[in-house]
Amino acid sequence: MFKKVLIANRGEIAVRIIRACREMGIETVAVCSEPDRNALHAMLADHTICIGPAQSSESYLNIGRIISATITSGADAIHPGFGFLSEDSKFARICERCNIAFIGPTSDMIAASGNKAQAKKTMMDAGVPTIPGSAVAVNTVKEGLELADIATYPVMIKASLGGGGKGMRVARSKDVFEQAFLTAQTEAKNAFGDDMMYIEHYVEHPKHIEVQILADKFGNVVHLGERDCSIQRNHQKLIEETPCAALSEELRKEICEAAVRAAKAVNYENAGTVEFLLEPSGKFYFMEMNTRIQVEHPITEWVTGIDLIKEQIRIAAGEPLSFTQDDIKITGHSIEVRINAEDPEHKFRPCPGKIEMAYLPGGKGVRVDSAVYSGLEIPPYYDSMLAKLSVWAKDREEAIRKARTALGEVIITGVKTNVDYQYGILSEPDFIEGKTDIDFIEKHSHK
């Protein structure tokens, strides 16, 4: 086991990792940027090294400084948390070269997952369903129609050099394909100077379902059930829950087993998440594999009783998994709500500033992962997440009530937060009834 772990991150995830290490008797080294000297993680760790100025590129993303902090502090492992360098294959590679254990998968796995086209092909070969569509780009209606038939309608037509919604059209059936294709192509040509188009199946009103995976260095892979992260705003998750209310036992088994196959296909190790899109029809498609711990990992911890961070550390230290798939039992229901320093009334712009007072709830089945305290100055340079509130109850209905109750007790003054906005979602009849998909926020945004 490691003697000392350096945490290459900040905020609540750094605090979460310090706590796990402390419970395991492992010494901790925090790194911080200059404005983060008084951040909770910097004060909580056994040792703290300031590694540079505010800009992430000079501190939390600066590989050279993090490596030298690790070596000078005598740490033997780095936990990268999420964000920052957590999915940087170069960083993982450098750790490997420096005999520093990177608490996560190997650099090659990170690189392989980062290459979307290659990852999709690997998954197809492993029998994991992927979105049907073109591996090649085309520029004539005739070729497009052929591909659309393979992809099955509705299809998305998008510019091969695309971005920002330009050169994108949905064709719901064969008879409108030509017009949609030509419009998208003209747009693409004007915007990017290129008329090559991709055609793929358009997944309509899907749920975002992801499966938590744990894999050790000995080829043992287990799943810890799914998470439903459909409540998103601009691809940012707001509320996550597990289990997903819409899954039948058979479908759950099918998706989770596909995730295990996906992990095995890349010889994965450590904690990872396989993301899928689930159509109302029950068809699901692989999107990508996240090769790190996720923000929303606490809800999986609630329903499985497994400490994911500790498992990550054990796996990285070379220990085999201490449980099998059969040992994992999902009990009850858990919901997580992200609390951000942002202003919902002004396009959710971040609201850094000084926390005058913070009162955070507790009680049975309530967990708060946070790095805020009264008097803390929130710097404007980083992510705006202040806290994660997660609850556990025996079923979904009670979990929603508990989440609302706890959220109602959250008091943070000094900066604007999205607490009331989140409270509104938890009270929304469609949410309570489980009528959620990734368009939920857009659909309800007029309220």
Partner: protein, 566 residues
């Protein structure tokens, strides 16, 4: 009291962790990171290798080992190294010199400061020499000179092109006068190689100085340079000490040499292999004649009702396509070469090589701009002597490699200015007329808009001259004509009619062979109507000259001009 002092910290169990061997403890292995001299950033060495030793932060070019360079340029598994066993020499018996060489050989795994051999570059066979600065600053001693000379001799025998990546501090002090003689020896070998009509490309990398610059580095048919490389004869420190002045920023760098006409192109390392293999391809000239362009519809001649003055105005029109537009359309694989090798790269003339109908051709054009900014850069299409000398250099290059020359003429006239006179504008034009008259390859000139006087003729002593319908060709501008003869430049429209400067006039005077019809109003949008005709006629010209006799061409060209006038 701060929170940090209130929290209770980790209690570790007193179990000794397993003792690791020192080599397994966390540490930064030697060479894992490299520091960029330019920006000071530490760079992960693996990443730097992947980026071909270009700093990902600031774009600074690191010096490359010869082995890495060869791996980058030569197709995998095709490199055959030559002459590694020449052995050291110590002609002046310099004490300690042999030891130094041996130490360096051990340290660098090189036998001397240059690696030579042969291999394929994207399938094109070539000899290659790569200098390596780690070996006594890649100075040229007798072994370096010998390896280069042998490479050229072998390339001459085998009919192969040569590419040298130069980098050197210059002559090797320890070998004194014998080192100096290597400059003469290598240059002589290059001359023999060149006389066989073989191609030599140099790529100047940081730093290329002294006796190497003053010999084989500057003798390439095509001279390329990596961005930002120091290139010069005397080193900057020596110059500063001699003249007692601080040298300006960028002095003696690749871009400075490009601007001053000594480098054909500055090429990024990343695209270097493709760039070189493309040039090799253009010089192999084994392409069969194949023209798959549009067969231009024969236009029925319509009556052009425009007056001579109308045509003058049209030919000067702001929206009229310029030479670059024709090149883009007719020669999509055009590679531009810069510089006169004397003073400057004059952008009023652009030149380079391309393929047309499967054949390599040299294209030289007088080049106006599309807007004011471009026009300032290109001096409104009025070439300086440097421009004409660049054109002549490229014509002579075409002659060496036996490829036709296509000239596009569009100039109000040769530049009239102080520097132009200082550098011999008259001499430069005269030299082109003289040399073109006996250039032993086919020459075709196309007047696309304005052909002003001697400035136009300098690219127009050709086997065939064609002209666009609304282009003009004259001894001077109508304004000039009116003010000389009538002391009133406002009478230019009248002068235009009197001067006989239209395409129709040129055809009837026998000055041009062909008039290319234009759409009602020629713009970028309908340029293809003109370029399709040119392409089709040009294909005919190329086809007629698939096999040519240089002397016969010169004879005909002589007679073509002999017949004008009395």
């Amino acid at each position: 009291m701060e929170l940090r002092y209130l929290f209770k910290k980790t209690q570790t169990d007193d179990i000794e962790p397993e003792k690791k061997a020192a080599s397994e403890a966390p540490q930064t292995p030697q060479g894992l990171f490299q520091k960029c001299d330019a920006c000071g950033q530490t760079i992960f060495a693996e990443e730097l290798r992947k980026d071909l030793f270009v700093c990902p932060t600031c774009g600074n070019y690191f010096r490359m080992f010869a082995s890495t360079r060869i791996a980058d340029i030569i197709d995998k598994g095709t490199f055959e190294e030559w002459d590694t066993d020449i052995g050291e020499t110590n002609p002046l018996n310099t004490p300690g010199y042999e030891d130094k060489i041996r130490r360096l050989q051990d340290k660098t795994e090189l036998d001397e400061a240059i690696v030579t051999g042969k291999g394929l570059i994207n399938g094109h066979p070539s000899c290659i020499g790569v200098m390596d600065c780690r070996f006594m600053m890649a100075s040229m001693g007798s072994v370096v000179g010998e390896k280069i000379t042998r490479m050229f001799e072998r390339a001459t025998d085998e009919g192969l092109p040569v590419i040298i990546f130069t980098a050197s501090g210059g002559a090797r002090m320890q070998e004194g006068i014998v080192s100096l003689m290597q400059m003469a020896k290598t240059s002589a070998a290059i001359k023999r190689h060149s006389d066989k009509g073989l191609l030599y490309i140099t790529v100047l990398t940081d730093p290329t100085t002294g006796g190497v610059t003053a010999s084989f580095a500057m003798l390439g048919d095509i001279i390329l340079a990596e961005p930002g490389a120091l290139i010069g004869f005397a080193g900057p420190r020596v110059i500063e000490q001699t003249i007692g002045q601080k040298l300006p920023e960028g002095f003696q760098r690749s871009e400075f040499l490009l601007e001053h006409g000594f480098v054909d192109a500055v090429v990024a390392r990343k695209g270097m292999k493709k760039y070189i293999s493309n040039i090799l391809k253009l010089h192999e000239n084994n392409g069969e004649y194949s023209f798959d362009g549009v067969k231009a519809k024969k236009k029925t001649a319509r009556k052009n009702k425009l007056s001579a003055w109308d045509k003058v105005m049209i030919s000067r029109g702001k929206d009229r396509p310029v030479a670059q537009d024709y090149i883009k359309s007719l020669f999509p694989d055009f590679v531009e070469f810069h510089g006169d090798r004397f003073v400057k790269d004059d952008q009023a003339i652009m030149g380079g090589i391309a393929t047309f109908a499967g054949r390599a051709v040299t294209v030289i054009a007088e080049s106006k701009g599309h807007d004011t900014k471009q026009n300032v850069e290109r001096n409104f299409g009025m070439p300086s002597p440097d421009g004409y000398r660049k054109a002549l250099r490229l014509m002579k290059q075409a002659e060496k490699f036996g490829r036709p020359v296509i000239c596009l003429i569009d100039t109000p006239g040769a530049y009239c200015g102080l520097e132009a006179e200082e550098r011999g504008q008259g001499e430069a034009i005269a030299r082109n007329l003289y040399e073109l008259s006996s250039l032993k390859v086919p020459v075709l000139s196309i007047i696309i808009s304005e052909a002003g006087s001697g400035g136009a003729l300098a690219l127009g002593v050709s086997d065939k001259v064609w002209m666009l319908e609304n282009a003009i060709y004259a001894i001077l501008s109508p304004e000039g004509y009116a003010s000389i003869l009538w002391k009133d430049s406002k009478r230019a429209p009248e002068a235009a009619a009197e001067m006989k400067l239209t395409a129709e006039d040129m055809l009837s005077l026998g000055i041009v062979e062909k008039v290319i019809t234009e759409p009602e109003e020629l713009t970028h949008a309908n340029l293809s109507e003109v370029t399709d005709q040119i392409a089709s006629d040009l294909a005919g010209f190329i086809k007629d000259n698939l096999e040519f006799d240089g002397d016969a061409l010169c004879e005909e060209r002589y007679n073509r001009y002999r017949k004008y006038g009395a």
